[in-house]
Symmetry: D2
């Protein structure tokens, strides 16, 4: 099997998410990281490249240069992972699309809805693979939930309870220079949304991914609880889904004691399902009128969709990196199908999912600014 040649923009030293992408790319041996513009600081870029093992001739300090050169190299990269702050996603992506290079882009898609719309149009006209790393959709038990709902085990979905709560922004660490916090609380880099963009988009996507439902309106009550912050750090959101289901979404980065509590609970007229990211190998299924079930990853109750996304036997926990790696592995399948000119579709979140996330952010901010009133998500 030919490995996919991968480049990376962003993700230099101390950038948490860059190393996650690299581990995810390595796990299944489908990629080879051969080029990078790991930092806009040339020295930092070079040093990071050295540490990571990228040949210095293919370490760039400008993503434009990288896109241009790699696009022309005989053995240039097939795909690029974009792991910069949000406001750069669109520009970086455009350069690589121009160069005919597939893209794996971190979320949220861009820093504005308009950027997202333009990018989506460009991606479609390019015909290239464009994956958005809504990585939580890669967890096996998320796939299990999706399959069970598609199979009708919950009946008609009535209620969706969503939450994504963290506490790392409970104090104003951005004032103390914590790098991750600085750009995420800066509207110029992050866009209109704070927590709703950074983590809310994950939850919003997850619900649609699992249920197969589309949200058509929302109402958002946003807060900045910490100091001089201007972007939301806590959000209470109501959702209406097209089939009549009702949703609540709590997003917080100031919930003292929560580490990375992404949780989804879904109730239909035949049963309920509950899953939490911090305990990802467990899916709770409550068929109405029967005793409750615990379905474990690779365990007796797991179905084909989940098993296809698992690597090791039940009771041997898989975690965040493995779930993330599923997105990479499946993107590799897409890229190979593209290479072989085969029609192929799988569960990897695409640019439309990314665009939808941006609309969610945009409408939530608009709703809040208007006094927490209802907004359509349809257009």
């Amino acid at each position: 099997m030919l490995k996919i040649k991968l480049g990376m923009v962003g993700g230099g030293k101390d950038a948490f998410i860059g190393e996650v992408h690299r581990m995810a790319a390595r796990l299944d041996n489908r990629y080879e990281l051969v080029a990078g513009a790991l930092s806009s600081n040339a020295k930092r870029a070079a040093q990071s490249a050295l540490e990571i093992g990228i040949d210095k001739r293919r370490s760039y300090s400008s993503y434009k240069e990288m896109a241009a050169k790699e696009g022309k190299l005989k053995s240039g990269i097939d795909a690029v992972a974009i792991v910069t702050p949000n406001h750069l996603h669109a520009d970086v992506a455009k350069e690589f699309l121009k160069a005919g290079i597939h893209i794996i882009c971190d979320k949220p898609l861009t820093s504005s809805l308009q950027d997202a719309e333009e990018l989506a149009a460009l991606v479609k006209s390019s015909g290239l693979v464009f994956a958005v790393t809504y990585n939580y959709s890669g967890y096996p038990m998320v796939r299990q939930a999706k399959e069970m709902i598609a199979d009708g085990l919950l009946g008609n979905v009535r209620v969706v309870q969503l939450e994504y709560a963290q506490d790392w922004l409970a104090t104003n660490i951005e004032q103390k220079g914590q790098k991750q916090a600085v750009w995420r609380t800066d509207p110029k880099q992050a866009g209109r949304g704070g927590a709703i963009g950074d983590i809310g988009t994950h939850a919003f996507h997850l619900a649609e991914f699992i249920t197969g439902l589309r949200a058509n309106s929302l109402l958002a009550d946003l807060d900045c609880f910490v100091g001089a912050r201007t972007l939301d750090d806590n959000a209470n959101i109501l959702l209406h889904y097209k089939n009549g289901a009702k949703g609540m979404l709590w997003v917080s980065q100031i919930a003292s004691g929560k580490e990375n509590r992404l949780q989804i609970r879904i109730y239909g007229d035949k049963g309920g399902l509950e899953w939490a990211q911090e305990d990802p190998n467990y899916l709770h299924f409550m068929p109405l009128g029967e005793s409750k079930r615990l379905i474990t990853r690779s365990g007796s109750g797991a179905g084909p969709l989940a098993n296809a996304a698992s690597r090791i036997p039940s009771g041997h926990p898989e975690g965040f990196i493995e779930g993330f790696a599923n997105i990479y592995r499946e993107t590799a399948d897409l890229i190979e199908a593209h290479r072989e000119n085969r029609e192929y579709k799988n569960l990897v979140p695409d640019v439309d999912d990314g665009l939808r996330g941006m609309r969610f952010v945009d409408k939530a901010v608009t709703s809040n600014q208007a006094g927490a009133i209802w907004q359509s998500l349809d257009h």
Copy 2:
């Protein structure tokens, strides 16, 4: 110690809550149940009285007769427990107030806000003890949470996440004659609120009880998911508290797989607290920046308020009846103080708490009818 002579209105055979009140009254040996109008059906009333051990001379088929006669008996009842459907609470209460008898009333206080306001005025002018059985406030670890917040362990409260989810109304059992369901889904007996009145009021009270905060506005998105139902069976509610804290409240009686999931989670700038009624002996405390704590009832971390509400050592679980019995025990303290003409105040929910619950129900219905928009709770 002189036992308090107790009467009961409602709570005949097959009425779940009547037997709960009786067990709660018995547990600490502070009451003696000596009279009852256990059913409006005379035969049923008599049979229930016989089974419960109430002397047939003090078994009434009319609460008016009971109030009148017991009020005049030399050894007439000191207090009455009202456990009828909601729409009777006000009328029954008025009769006993007139007779100078203390009242223990189930929630919600009445079936309309107007009734509640009138009743509250009457109670105050009477000077009698009036307890509302928001029984969940009687749990020791609820008291622990209250004490910890009062002691400043959470700092300034920012976020309140509330839920009370059940599934017993997930299908239209009221059409099949399930007695509990019939009156709870009937606006004539239940009032304007369905699930929000039956269980939502518990959650709304619990949050104010624990945090010491007052909600000053709400927005409610109500649904009747099941059949021909006209009262809400699912409610998504946003709350604003006076100190700026924000809340979400999910109330459901159609959440497949949930039995009696009342849960409260509170996050302040110094820490978080989480408690769930189904596992009532555990309180989770997450001081910001430290490892998480599990405080157990009567365990090493429990404080005086919780310990005063506990009966047995840690690891020996107490449950719903014991929590309910705390309300009875503390109401007994109030009645004795009244008897001795002592000023005395404790944590027993009173008629104002009951009135507040009715305002919550009323405003939630109004909000929803207006398209899920904000409503003040202040008046």
Copy 3:
């Protein structure tokens, strides 16, 4: 329904277990506590009687006097609860048996195997009701487990994993005068066993109660980890059951952090079951090759045996007192059947169960003294 007139020996002020027996007796309104020898100290006995509401004419400072007088009273007690330290159980019981009074006796049955054998013989010849408060067998989900195994849902039982761990004796509190600790660590009052008698007997009984199996040999490795203690405070025990099943039993009162962790886990060739006393409303069932089940008290998966032992709906937790009260309620049924001269048998642990517990203690100590070698439990 005629209430049973109950007396109590032991259980004065500050005695935890006496109050538990009283609450258990009150909960279902089947008993009336009318007499007591609550303490061997006359003043303390009188004061306790006053507080509890026992008429002073029926408060005794000697259990002999109490047995003699109550046996002759026209309305004397029907039954007596014995809640003294272990070494008094046998003598007290004998007096009341002589007086024709039914007995509810705390565990362990006596302080020596010989006493237990004599008492068992006496009970049988008396024809009276004799209940031993192995109260954990009264929990609804324990009954559920028993029923499921009897119904063959586990197939042939192969493995029994038992533990009962506490930490309240992790330091030498008996040296500081803690009353509960003083007599439990004193061989003169407790007998040959320390933790194995105090709590190990509960676990040993529970396993036989649930599985229906009999242990026929054991090997015990006992320790006194704390100071000058001479009775075991930690015990590692292996068990062989007659059907070939193998067991492990860990008993500890020095396991730092454990409150009252009685836990039983049973594995057969068709499935497994797990239950822990600290979370008594949950029973975990793992049918081999299927997804795991959570059966809740009064929930959809609960069967008739469990439901008969439950008082309130699922999700409304019942606890230790309710489980204990089941033993009292069922003993009331036995006493009434005796009164009416009916043959009747239920699940209340009897004197043979008590005797079996004493044999367990005796053989464990013998095994340990011989260097932790195997001992038969058959004789």
Copy 4:
């Protein structure tokens, strides 16, 4: 950083553990898999090599040939991973030691104590790195537990409760040709121990690793519950540690419903610790007389030893592969230190740990055969 050139013996298609080793080796980018004798079947070996991406010139069908040739190649492998059935470990290892190649060997070390002793001597005289993949010692929270005990947070350890329970051998799947089961239940390939060798050695090592204590005697009660099996599938073992601590170890592969339940619980005179492999990111700490703590991986309470073994922030679960990869990463550190002729020691289990595991197996079988009596582990 120069990557370590790695070979592999065993681990062809369908071999679970081979792929685990490969993922573990890849995760941190410290190894390059360049050679293999993946199967003794030449065709299968070639096919596996092709799939994995090993150059066919370096795919061998004989480990002897591989050792000989790779030892002489200028760019031959630095290290070999041995992932064959147990009975081959010793012979394979000897060949590679002769060729001067470092070894990463799966557990148990060999299939007999004698083989293990010989191999240990050989390894020592070779001066080469020899890692045994007791991979569970690589979990961050296991490291945390080790550090906390070393720091005295538990005081003097008194009690060690160990269990490793699975259910995949609850029926005789070896008769149906399940490959993993066939060799594990065959004494010729597995050695004297069944479950105790396959998984018991992990638990035995883990306890010594975490506590720093040495077991000096054991007593084992072994069973073959399934069919014609001759090796143990369930083991109840008592342990004595040199400091006077007492242990219990339950090992089972027939415990219906258990997937991979490795659990360790340790109680000292100052506190207790509990950890379970299926929920590896959580460590429960119960300081005596204080409220219980939950320490999470990378969370506020985690210390340097745990943090050094973590890759991503708290709340982003790491799993089995990451823990396994820590053994690989740390073995890479050992190999580099060896290359640079530096003295260096870390926590990677070595041949002495492997030998100790074999002594555990050998003595357990001897104990059981003698009627479950005590055996010294000292010689």
